[in-house]
Amino acid sequence: MAIYLDYAATVPMSAEVLAAYTDALAVVGNPSSIHSFGQAARQMVEQAREDIALAVHADRNEVIFTSGGTEGNNLAIKGLYWERNKYASRKKIISVYTEHHAVIDTIEWLEQHEGAEAVWVPVHSDGEIDFDWYRNYISEHKTEIALVSFMVANNETGVITDVKKFAEVAAELGIPSHSDAVAAFGYLPIDFADLNLATMAISAHKVGGPVGVGALLVSRATKITSLIQGGGQERGIRSGTLNAAGTRAFSLAAKIALQNMDGHNQHTRKLIEKIQNHVSVNIPNAKFSRGGQPGLSHNAHFTFEGAKSDSLLFLLDQAGFAASAGSACQAGVARPSHVLLAMGRSEAEANGTLRFTLGANTTAVEIDQLLEILPSVVATARA
């Protein structure tokens, strides 16, 4: 049986969530219908909304259910951009090139189609964003800025950013902040109300819920333009029949993840430290990609210069270990990591990345087995 070390790609559903999900799938009724069936389904959605709101300390009306993280990021960035340009010209979008493609590509789409201008804040080699540069830039250009967007935790390197600090200085200038919290939600305490954010995207399958459901938090004070028109569900922001069973499973998975967060983080941190120590002793010229930056406790991202990611992944997969080079991509090709390149690393380093992300089910024995073969895997990939 292969060993799964790619929890950041997707987290297996627990038996409890799976049972709740399948039970919910059996419930008949469109949540927007008026009759008793519809009301039963609606009740399920609204309970889920409350549970999600509770999980991120938001108002229940601030939870807009979506199909997942990519939709949430698109909706927030395009929606804020269009809203902010209704009565004024604010073309600049401030972000960093270490963001997920759901953010970067959305911003670049707005550049190509809507006349937006992306401003990418410099990032240090350990993934830390240059806050002083950012603060100076936005103070000088405050009237031209539509929004800023910074992720809570990086999906590849695990680097955690103090989003509150970034959002506060924007808020003082009247600029809305979006945050992609997909990689962080369930692994870090997140207080939407306290973060000063206008919008924040989260996704179910990264916390043990099903694929195909997520939420965008939209603060009560924030207006956004919707991307899809239809039946006017979700305050008119996100039309389309509500995925009642999905929201039920999402909220339960989120609740469980938050209840277990401390234990989970202690467990995975210990194993990640074990990997880190073993790699630093036994594998020459290996770098823990985020250096000393604060990071997700279940994420170990390395750069092995001189080894290509596709070779590393091939050898590991053949040996029965499922890892990743960074984020998954449509053609299944390991490309040089845009995150590492944005951190100013060389193409050779960005080509030789490997990410292990662990979960509640990962055991010390599995990590021992991994560490037994990892040095020779890296050596072979470098040959």
Partner: protein
């Protein structure tokens, strides 16, 4: 043995992989990503570089129950094949990029990576056969499926590369048999169209693509005596043997049509002349390699056959290596051979070696 099946997404490589599995080898399917910006859907008759092709390969691998990976060779492919293609045209030559891909990518970069990752052989869907010769060394031979024979594009393989090459469908009778076999095996690529076009040139328009890369500088059209006959918009738009599109106003003195005989990149001239002058009697090139054991006395003239295009008929010749150059004196003239093309030497069905043609000698003296 542990076999890496290079799977383009086409029917040949899928059946080759299937046969490798059936032969009891431990097989892993690998698709080569050759483009940094792959298209999502196949267009025209290009056959291997889109995401659709990668998915076709993956479906075939799934059907065969073998692991499947995509390996990125786009950087290497750009350097070794695409840039080489452009440079060759710039130098007034006519390159064969598929040959270059076999030489530098499939049986070099890919093979090297495969060997370092623990594989014994690379398997492809080429129509060619590897046999053991009398001296015990491996030899590359033509496929029995003469119409589909691809030994020409494999002429660049060296003795060492032959040891790790595996062509499971190489001896097949026909492409129809392979399609039928694919259908019988439930492979959905059974009816996928063949690819003909150069994979990295969209819409198959080589001239437009080259104009885009190289720009076009107008120059003179001259005859072999140097008389200026007209003007051309850019010399890489012409290939040796071309008749149409010369746009020379006045007819030749003898009233016969004129053909492109030569492209001179340094002076940016296109040389034209009568059809007879296209005939060449001698080919020579210094970038040469032997496919398996080399001939013992290379400096002495030996009898062989030479083929200058993938599907051209071979022509008998006398060959020898003289001052580091493989020289082939043809028993009968060949029409319109351009420098840059590959001359593959055969003895019977065996591929002996190859060279990239640097120069040709015309059958007709300049005064003609």
């Amino acid at each position: 043995m542990k076999v890496l099946a290079a799977m383009s997404g086409g029917v040949d490589s899928a059946v080759a992989a299937a046969r490798a599995v059936e032969a009891g080898h431990e097989v892993v399917g690998v698709h080569l990503a050759l483009s940094r910006m792959p298209g999502t859907l196949r267009t025209g008759s290009r056959g291997c570089c889109t995401i659709e092709d990668s998915m076709d390969a993956q479906r075939a691998a799934n059907k065969l129950g073998i692991p499947y990976y995509v390996w990125d060779f786009s950087e290497k492919f750009k350097e070794e094949v695409v840039d080489d293609f452009i440079a060759e045209y710039q130098a007034g030559r006519t390159p064969n990029p598929c040959m270059r891909c076999n030489e530098r990518i499939k049986f070099a970069a890919l093979l090297e990576k495969a060997l370092s990752l623990g594989f014994d052989a690379v398997c492809t869907g080429h129509y060619a056969t590897i046999l053991t010769g009398e001296d015990g060394e491996l030899e590359l031979h033509r496929s029995n499926a003469y119409a589909k024979d691809q030994s020409y594009v494999l002429g660049v393989l060296t003795a060492e590369e032959l040891k790790h090459a595996y062509f499971p469908i190489g001896a097949s009778a026909s492409k129809d048999d392979i399609r039928k076999e694919a259908a019988d095996r439930g492979l959905s690529v059974a009816n996928k169209p063949d690819s003909y076009d150069i994979c990295f040139i969209p819409e198959g328009d080589t001239q437009d693509w080259l104009n885009d890369k190289l720009g076009s500088t107008p120059g003179e059209i001259v005859d072999r005596s140097g008389n200026v006959l007209g003007e051309h918009p850019g010399s890489h738009g012409y290939t040796v043997g071309q008749r149409k599109g010369l746009n020379i106003g006045k007819p030749a003195a003898d009233g016969k049509p004129r053909f492109v005989l030569e492209i001179r990149p340094i002076t940016n001239q296109v040389v034209v002349g009568p059809h007879d002058a296209l005939a060449v009697t001698e080919l020579a090139g210094s970038r040469l390699s032997w496919c398996g054991s080399a001939p013992k006395n290379q400096a002495e003239w030996f009898t062989a056959e030479v083929q200058v295009r993938a599907h051209a008929d071979p022509v008998p010749c006398q060959a020898a290596v003289i001052n580091g150059e493989l020289v082939m004196k043809l028993n009968e003239p060949l029409m319109g051979v351009a420098p840059g093309q590959t001359a593959v030497l055969y003895v019977g069905t065996r591929v002996l070696g190859q060279t990239t043609i640097d120069r040709t000698v015309s059958a007709v003296p300049i005064e003609a």
